[in-house]
Symmetry: C5
Subunit: 352 residues, 5 copies
Amino acid sequence: MRRRSAPGTAPGTLIPDPAAQRPTIHYWRYDREHCEEQQNCAPEKLEPPQSASEVVWVDVVGLGDSALVQRIGERFGFHPLALEDVVNVHQRPKVENYDDHLYVVVRMANYDGQGAETEQVSMFHAPGLVLTFQERPGDCFEPVRERIRRAKGRLRGMAGDYLLYALIDSVVDGYFPLLERHGDSLETIEQQIITDPSSECIEQLHSLRRELLALRRAIWPTRDMLAALLREEPGFVSDATRLYLRDVHDHTVQLIDIVETYREITAGLIEAYLSSLSTKLNEVMKVLTLMATFFLPLTFITSLYGMNFDRGSPWNMPELGWRLGYPFALSVMMIAAGALLYFFWRKGWFKG
Amino acid sequence: MRRRSAPGTAPGTLIPDPAAQRPTIHYWRYDREHCEEQQNCAPEKLEPPQSASEVVWVDVVGLGDSALVQRIGERFGFHPLALEDVVNVHQRPKVENYDDHLYVVVRMANYDGQGAETEQVSMFHAPGLVLTFQERPGDCFEPVRERIRRAKGRLRGMAGDYLLYALIDSVVDGYFPLLERHGDSLETIEQQIITDPSSECIEQLHSLRRELLALRRAIWPTRDMLAALLREEPGFVSDATRLYLRDVHDHTVQLIDIVETYREITAGLIEAYLSSLSTKLNEVMKVLTLMATFFLPLTFITSLYGMNFDRGSPWNMPELGWRLGYPFALSVMMIAAGALLYFFWRKGWFKG
Amino acid sequence: MRRRSAPGTAPGTLIPDPAAQRPTIHYWRYDREHCEEQQNCAPEKLEPPQSASEVVWVDVVGLGDSALVQRIGERFGFHPLALEDVVNVHQRPKVENYDDHLYVVVRMANYDGQGAETEQVSMFHAPGLVLTFQERPGDCFEPVRERIRRAKGRLRGMAGDYLLYALIDSVVDGYFPLLERHGDSLETIEQQIITDPSSECIEQLHSLRRELLALRRAIWPTRDMLAALLREEPGFVSDATRLYLRDVHDHTVQLIDIVETYREITAGLIEAYLSSLSTKLNEVMKVLTLMATFFLPLTFITSLYGMNFDRGSPWNMPELGWRLGYPFALSVMMIAAGALLYFFWRKGWFKG
Amino acid sequence: MRRRSAPGTAPGTLIPDPAAQRPTIHYWRYDREHCEEQQNCAPEKLEPPQSASEVVWVDVVGLGDSALVQRIGERFGFHPLALEDVVNVHQRPKVENYDDHLYVVVRMANYDGQGAETEQVSMFHAPGLVLTFQERPGDCFEPVRERIRRAKGRLRGMAGDYLLYALIDSVVDGYFPLLERHGDSLETIEQQIITDPSSECIEQLHSLRRELLALRRAIWPTRDMLAALLREEPGFVSDATRLYLRDVHDHTVQLIDIVETYREITAGLIEAYLSSLSTKLNEVMKVLTLMATFFLPLTFITSLYGMNFDRGSPWNMPELGWRLGYPFALSVMMIAAGALLYFFWRKGWFKG
Amino acid sequence: MRRRSAPGTAPGTLIPDPAAQRPTIHYWRYDREHCEEQQNCAPEKLEPPQSASEVVWVDVVGLGDSALVQRIGERFGFHPLALEDVVNVHQRPKVENYDDHLYVVVRMANYDGQGAETEQVSMFHAPGLVLTFQERPGDCFEPVRERIRRAKGRLRGMAGDYLLYALIDSVVDGYFPLLERHGDSLETIEQQIITDPSSECIEQLHSLRRELLALRRAIWPTRDMLAALLREEPGFVSDATRLYLRDVHDHTVQLIDIVETYREITAGLIEAYLSSLSTKLNEVMKVLTLMATFFLPLTFITSLYGMNFDRGSPWNMPELGWRLGYPFALSVMMIAAGALLYFFWRKGWFKG
C-alpha cells in the first residue's frame, strides 16, 4: 500500500516512487506592480524573493527525480525530514514548524473527481516564499494562477502567507463538489431502497461507505492542521491572513460535518435495507406457510382415499362405498380448510 | 446540495443563489422613549444609531440581490468573508469576532414546522446595531417586534446586545414545538409497534431518524456558538445580557438532551421492530414446520398404500388384502402422529 | 411534551402549567436552640433570617399560582429567569449563580417509586435562607424535617448551606431504591431468558431500557451540577459543607455507574434473547428440512408406483408386475432413506 | 442489591449489614529493628505509633459491629463520612483527602478466584499509621505480612506510605490471575466456535461478558484513584513511594487494557457465533429448497397419472394407454429434473 | 497468558520466564572518529562512556538469566522497578523518568512478520549510554548497526539520544510492512466477498480483526510514549533529536490511522458478508416458496382425482366419468397455475 524506505534507514533518505512522474518546475515572482511567470524553470534559476514586498512561488509537479527535490530543498535550506515526507506521498495533512520555515501537507481531492483517491500536496513556506510539490499534473490552482496573472482581488498586494492561504483554500474547497456527488448518490439509493431494494443498492452503499471513510481520513487531519496553523506564532502568518485561515478552518469543519452526516445516513440506509429484507423474508415465509399449511391436510385426505385396500373386507375404507362418500370427503376438506383460514385470520396473517 | 463558488475563487466573492428571493429591508430605530419602524426601507436610507441609547435593527429578508448585500455590508463596514457567508446559505451556526463587529449565524427551524429543513439567519452586531439577514419571509421574530412596538418587558430600555439575545432566543425556542411533534410521533409509533408492527412503522422511524440527524446538526453547533458568545470579552455583550445568554445556552443544552434521547428511543424502536419481526418469523416457521412434519409422514403412508403393485404375487402389498388393513394403516398413522405431537410438545413448540 | 411560553416571549414571563397544584407554603426558622415550624404560612409572613446563626427554610409545594411564585421571588430578590425555570418544570438539574443567590434544580425520583417519571425540585440558596419549590405533595424530605424538629445530628447547628446539602442528599439517595428495583427486574428477566425466552421478556427489556434512559437523563446532569457546586467560590458553600457535598457527588458517580452497568446488561440481554431466537429458528428449520428431505423422495417413489399406466404394454411399469415388486420398491425407499440419514449425520444435524 | 440507610438519614450514620461478620483486629507495630504482631487485639489497646520511624498497621476483618468501627474511627479521629463508607460496602475505588488522613477504597478480587464478586477493602492512612477494613477473612496480604515478619525487601525500613503502597499493590496484582483464567476460557470457547458452535458457547460468552463488565467497574476507578493519589501533595506520599505507586498505576492501565481487549474479543466471538448460525441456516435452507424444488414437480407428474378418469372417453388421459406412456412419463420427469439441476448449478447452489 | 510474580511479592523481584533464552551481550562504543564493537561481551567488561562525545550501546538479547540482568542494572544504577519490567515481558510501551535515566519500553513487530505477536524491547537511556534488552535474536536494528559501522548519515556524530531515536524509529517503521500485508489480505477478501462469499472469508475476517486488535494495543501506547518523550525536559533529549522524535510520533499517528481504517473496513466487510447472506437467504426462500406455492395446489387437484370412491353412486366423483373430465381437470390446474403466476408477478418475485 505505501512504499517507504526499509525500517532503520537513516532519516532524510529520499527514495522516489519508481512510478512517479518526472518533475517540471513553474516559477512565479510578483509584487503589487509586477508579475513574472516562468514555465519549466531550471532548478538553478530559482531565485528567492529580492525584496520584502516580493512573493516567490515555486510549483513543482511530479516527484520522479529525488535528486532534484533534494537540490531544491538544499537551495532553500529545508529540513531533510520534511523533504523525505515530500517524496513519501502517504502523509496525513499536517503542519511542521522548522524554525525558519513551515512545512504543510494537504491532500487534494482528485481534480477529475474520480473518487476517493487523493493526491499529496506538500507546501513550504518561508517569508516571501511558497514552494509546492504535487504528485501529478492537473490541480485546482488554476483560479489562483489567474488571480495572480490578472491581479484580481487582494492576492497580488499581500505577502506570501496569503498565497499559502489561497492554495490551501483551493484544496479544501475542492472537496465540496466531490461530496455533492456523494450526496446525490445517497439520495438516488435512498429512493431505490424505498421503492425496490435490490442487492445492488447494498453494494453501492458499502463502496460509498469506504469512500467516505477515505475522505474522512483526508479531511479530519486537515482541520487539525489548520487549527495548528492558527495557533502558530505570528512569525509566519500575519493577523490579517489569520482571519482568512479561520474561514478555511470553518470550511473543514463544515466538510467534516457533511462527511459524518453522510456516514450516518449510509449506515441508516444499510440498516433500512436489511430491515426491508427481513420484512420481505417474513412476508415470503408467511405465504409459504399459508400455502403449505392449507394444502398439506387437504392432500393428506385425498391421498387417504387413494389407498387401494381390498374392498372385500367391510373394515377396509367403507367410506369409499358410501353413496355420499365423495361429498363427505369434500365437506371434510372444506371444514379443514375453513378452520385453517380462520386460524390464519386470527393470527393476523392476511393483513400485510 | 450546496451551491458555492468554484474552488480557488477569491474570498469575499458573493455569488447569489439563482433561486433566492429579492430582498426587502425593514428598519427599526428605538430607544426607551421613541420607536421608529420603516418597512421596505431603501438601502441608502439605513442610518446608524445617532446616540448611545439608540438601537438600530435592520432586517433584510431575501438574499437574491448580492449587490445589495454587498452595499449594505460596505455601508456598515462588515468583513467580506462574513458577507460571503451570508449569501452562502449552508453555514453552521457560529460566531465570528471581526474586532469591530460580531458575525453570528443561527439556523431557524422552518416556522411552518414542515420538517427538518432549516433556514439560515445571519446576524451582525456592532454597538447599538443589529443586522439580520433571512432567506425567506416568515419567521419567529413577530413576538420580538411586538415587544419593541409596545415597549413590553425590558427590551426597549436595553442596548443592542439584548436585542441580539432576544432574536437568538426566539430562534432557539422555535425548536421546541418541532421536537414536541417528533415526540408525539414517537409515542404513536411505539404504540403501533407493540400492537401491530407494520413495515410502515419502520419507514417512519427511518425518516424520523434522518430528521433528528438534521436537527442535531443545527442544534449542536448552536450550543457551541452560544458558549463562544459567553466567552467573548465584554465589548459586545454586557454582563447583564450575559445572564440571559446563559439561559439560552441552557435551552440549547436541553434541546440537545431531547434530540439525543429521541435518537436513542428511535434506535431502540427500530431494534424492537426488528426483534418483533424475528419473533414473528420464528412463530411462522414453527407453524410451517409443525404442519409439514405432521403431515409428511402421514401422506407418505397413504401414498404407500396407493401403489398399484400386482396383487397376484403374495409378496406385493399383502397389507391391502388384510381384513383389517385399513384400520391397521389408520393406527400406524395415529401412532406416528401421536409420536410427532409428543416430540413437538417436548420441544415446547405449542407454548407460544 | 413540555409546555413553555411561545418562542420570542419576553424572558421572565411565568406561565403556569394549567394542571399544576395550588401551592401551600411551609415555613421553618431554626438555630441551634430554637425551632419554629409553620404549616400553610401566608406568603406575606415569610421573614428572612433575623441573625447570622438562624436558618430559614421556605418549602413551597405546588406551582399552580404563578403570581404567588413571582411574589415570593420578588420578596427575596430572586432573578426572573430563575423564577421562569421554577414554573417551567422540565429543567435539567443545574446550578446557577446569580451573585447574591444560588439557584439549584434537581429532579426527585417519584417517591412512590412508580417509575421513570421525576419531579422537578427548585432550590434557592442565599446566606441563611433555603427556598424549595416542589411540583407535588409527597417527597423524600421527611427524615430531614425530623432531624430539624428533634435536633438530631449536626443539622440544627450548621448554616443554610448544610440544609441545602441535606436536601440534595435526600433527593440523590432517593434514586437508590428505584435502581435496586430495576436490578431485581433485570435478574428476573435474565433467569427467564435462560430458561424460556418469551416475547414478553423482550418487551420488558425494551421498556426497562427506556426507563434507564430517563433515569440517566436525570442523574448525569445532577453530577455535573454537584461538580459545579463544588467549584463555586466559598461565598455560598463553606469548606465544612463542601466535604459533605463531595460525598453526594460521590453518590451520583455511583448512581451513574449503576445506571450505565444496567444499560449494558440490558443491551446484553436483548442480544442474548435475539441470539436465542436465532438458535431456535435454526433448530426448527433443521427439523423441517430433515423431515421434508427425508419424506419427499420416499413419497415420490410411492407416488410413482401409484400411476395408472395401461399394463397391457410391456413398457408400462413392468415393476408392478414383478413378483417382488413391492419388496423391491420398499428396498429402494430404505436405501434412499439410509443414504439421506447418512448425509444428515455427516452434516452433523442430529447433534443439537 | 446494595443496602444503605434510608434517603435523608443524617450523614455518618453507621448501619451495618446484618449478614456481616463479627470483626477481629490484627495489630502490627514495626520499625527497621523491631516488629510486634498481635492477633485479636482489643480495640482499646490500639496504640498510635510512638516515634517517627515506627509504623502501625491495624487490620480489621469483618464489619459486623458498627459500634466497634465507630470507636476505632473516633480513636484515630477519622471523618464520619469515611466511616459510613467503610460499612456501606458498595463503594467504588476512590481516595479522599480529609486534611489529616487519607481514606482509600479498593476492591479486592475474591481471593479464591470464584468470579466477578469483589470485596471492599477500606484503608485509612495518616503519617505512621495504616488502618485496613476487610469484609471477610481471606485476603491477598499474606506475602506482605511475611515481608514485615521476615524483614524482607525494604518494607520494614520505609514509612507508612510504603505499607499503603504494598497493600494496594497486592490488591491490584490479585486481578491478574483472575484475568488469566478468563483469557483461557476465551481461547477454549473460540476453539469451540470454530469447530462446533453450540448454544452453550453463547451462554458462556454472555456470562463472561457480564463478569468482564463487573471487573471493569472495579478496575477503571482504581486507576483514577491511583492517579489522584499520585497527584496528592507530598504530605501523605513521599517522592520515593510515588515511584512505586506509579508502577501500580501502570499495572491498572495494563489490567484495563486486558479487560477491554477481552471485551472486544468476547463481542467478536458473539458476532462470529451469530454469523456462523446464519451461514448454517442458509445451508440448511438451501438443502430444503433443493429437495423441495426437485421433488415437487416430479411428484406432481406422478400424481397426475395416478388420477382415475374414466378411460372410456378418448379425451381422458390418453397417455395412460400409450404403448410407451411410462417411458414417456419417466423422460418428462428426467428432463424436468435435469432442467432443475441445471438451474441450481447455475445459481451456484452446489458449491458449499 | 502473562507470567508474573505472585500478588504481594516485594517490588523489584526478578523472576525470569523459564522458557526465556540465555542472554548474549553486544557492546558498542563510538564517537565521530572511532567505533569499537564487541560481540558476546562479558558483563564485567561493560564500560560506561569515557568522554562526553562517546556513545555506548549495550544490546542484551535473551532474558533467561535474571541475575545477569540485575547485575547489569546495578552496574549502571538503574531502578529495580524498571529492571522488574525488563523481565516481565508483557509491558505496554511506555517511558519512565527515573531522574538520572530514562526507561523506555517498545514492542517490536515480529521481524519475520509472522503475525500479531510482538516482542518487548526495553531501552535504558542515560547521557552517552543506551542499553537495550530484547527477548529473542532477530531484530530490525541491523540497518542501524550498519550506519554505526560505516558512519553513514549523522548517527556517529550525534549523542546517545539520537541513537535512542534511531532504535525507536526502526521499531516503529517495522509495523508498516506488517500492515501492508494486512491491507493486501483485506483487498483479497473484499474481492471474494463480492464475487463469491464463502464462510472462509468470514473466518479470515474474524482472525484479521483479532490481529488488528493486537496491533492496536501495541501501537496506541507507543504514540503516547512518544508524546511523553517529546514532553520530557531537555535533560535527556536534545532539541535537535526532538525534531526527529516528532517525526517518529508522526509515523505512529499514521500507523494508528491505518489500523483504525483497517478495523473499520474489516467491520464493514463482515457486515457486507452478513447482508449478502441475508440477500441469498431471501432469494433461496423465494424460490422455495414459489415452487411450493405453485405445485401444492396442482398436486392437490391431481390427488383429488386419484381417490377411489365407488363410482356406483352418481354422487361420487362424477367428474371422472365426464367425457372431457381430464381436459377439464387440466384446465382447472392451468387456471390455478396462471393465477399463482400472476400473483407472484404482482409481488415482484420474478425480478431478482
